[in-house]
């Protein structure tokens, strides 16, 4: 079973049409060329993969209780959501 980090990176890489190796923890979504539609599609894919609900509103991303500023922060947010659910 791959780690949460590997699985999230795989989802983001697919969205960005990149190899997982090209997605680093410090990458931002902008760096990866993921636009607003790509972001909501990634969040959907993450929710489906981990069966969690990500509190994200595209109207006010900065107010959402979910930090999307980098791949690292996204992974941290997902790990927290999974832990809270367990």
């Amino acid at each position: 079973m791959s780690t949460i980090q590997d699985r999230v990176i795989a989802i983001i890489a697919e969205q960005a049409v990149l190899e997982p190796a090209d997605v680093t923890l410090d990458s931002t979504l902008e760096d990866l060329g993921i636009d607003s539609l790509g972001l909501v599609e990634s969040i959907f894919a993450i929710e489906e993969a981990f069966d969690i609900s990500v509190p994200f509103n595209a109207n006010e991303p900065e107010k959402s209780d979910f930090d999307i500023s980098s791949v690292r922060s996204i992974i941290a947010g997902i790990e927290r959501l999974i832990a809270e659910q367990a």
């Binding site: 049409v17 539609l37 909501v40 599609e41 969040i43 959907f44 929710e47 489906e48 609900s53």
Partner: protein, 403 residues
């Protein structure tokens, strides 16, 4: 006023995945209606349709595109690529700023709606893909068309059930005719062949279980199809200047409303639209050699339409040919007028009249020359295309052979 010609055509429908194969099927009188193939079809009592078969979306679009393109958008883009390639136009600068796209569509992304309803209601899921709305909205096809080809002028979708495409093409014609833009991309697209889409139509009890036999005494209803056809409407001088190949001239149109009944057709509404189109096109009735009928194959439509044609044309009604190509490609609802315009172009340009197939028994209430079962060669100067929609909304286009 500017003269308007057609300089490009594209299609995908049950008869073919492009214009040449579709016209060949029409010439051969081939039937594109067959067994429907989709999930839960065994729960339907109507199991035939004019479905686009042998089509692989992955061969035409990438993953990101498919996440956003419902089947009706895919059909639109495939048809538009063929039409715009044939026209040989590139939309840049001033032309891009003025040219737009007006499309007919009735059901929007019915397959997308069906799949997602299934997932939340039947499978009990509480999450749907984020692109459900941009995928199913009726204007999605027109918008993606504008994005792919850089069309920045008037762009919208017309939804008048079975007359959607004719209303859309009439509106596009008017914009070029009136000098608003030298080029418009127009036509229509539809894809309602999914469980929910056909189930809804079943409820009306107007669908045939075995075949679409317009004008035949033993006709027993309509058969639903899917697909698209897209055209490039261009101002004549603009087309001539660049040496474009001209398929036919669009002369005019008329639109009427029955203001009477939500489903039953009206002879007066239909005849007013036909008369209006002749007047707008400034043609004498005896110049009309071919009518592509609305010809749904229902008891009510076909006799009403024939009565309207007889009223408008008098003795000439016995000399003109009127066929329903729905017998082959089925009823594409919001796209039907667009696919049927191809039969008008074939009549005018190639001198071949697409037949009404499935014709088995003469009906005294449809006693016109319906070119039964086999195509016919005939030189036609003027052709009309009828569309009479649910809701009593009628739109008739008039075209002339371009020589």
């Amino acid at each position: 006023m500017k003269r308007v010609v057609i300089t490009g055509a594209g299609t995908i429908n049950a008869l073919g995945h492009d214009v040449p194969s579709t016209l060949e099927s029409m010439r051969e009188g081939r039937c594109g209606i067959g067994d429907l193939e989709f999930k839960d079809v065994e729960r339907l009592s109507i199991r035939i349709g004019g479905q686009v078969k042998g089509y692989d979306p992955v061969a035409r679009f990438n993953r990101q595109q498919l996440a956003l393109y419902d089947r009706f958008t895919q059909f639109t883009l495939i048809s538009a690529r063929e039409a715009i390639r044939q026209a040989g136009l590139e939309f840049t600068g001033e032309l891009a700023a003025r040219a737009g796209a007006i499309l007919g569509n009735s059901g929007g992304g019915m397959t997308t709606l069906d799949e997602n309803y299934r997932s939340v209601y039947e499978e009990g899921k509480n999450r749907v893909h984020p692109f459900v709305v941009p995928k199913l909205m009726n204007n999605a096809a027109a918008s993606h068309l504008s994005m792919e080809f850089n069309l920045k002028g008037p762009t919208f979708t017309v939804s008048t059930a079975c007359a959607s495409s004719n209303h859309a093409m009439a509106q596009a014609f008017q914009m070029v005719h009136g000098g608003i833009t030298p080029v418009m991309v127009t036509g229509g697209s539809e894809s309602m062949l999914c469980f929910g889409g056909v189930k809804a139509w079943e409820g009306l009890r107007v669908m045939s279980r075995d075949a679409c036999r317009p004008f035949s005494a033993n006709r027993n209803g309509m058969v639903q199809g899917e697909g698209a056809a897209i055209f490039v409407f261009e101002e004549l001088e603009h087309a001539k200047k660049r040496g474009a190949c001209i398929l036919a001239e669009v002369l005019g149109f008329a639109m009427t409303s029955d203001a009477a009944d939500i489903v039953m057709p009206s002879k007066q509404g239909a005849s007013r639209a036909i008369e209006g189109a002749l007047r707008d096109a400034r043609v004498n009735r005896d110049e009309v050699g071919y009518i592509n009928a609305h010809g749904t194959g229902t008891a009510a439509n076909d006799k009403t339409e024939c009565a309207a044609v007889a009223d408008v044309f008098g003795h000439h009604a016995d000399k003109l040919m009127i066929t329903s190509t729905k017998s082959m490609h089925a009823h594409l609802i919001g796209a039907t007028g667009a696919v049927e315009l191809l039969a008008c172009i074939m009549a005018l340009r190639d001198g071949i009249i697409a037949p009404t197939i499935g014709y088995e028994e003469p009906d005294p209430e449809c006693a016109l020359d319906v070119v039964p079962n086999e195509a016919r060669e005939a030189q036609v100067e003027v052709a009309l295309s009828n569309a009479f929609a649910f809701g009593g909304l009628n739109a008739v286009l008039a075209l002339r052979r371009f020589a």
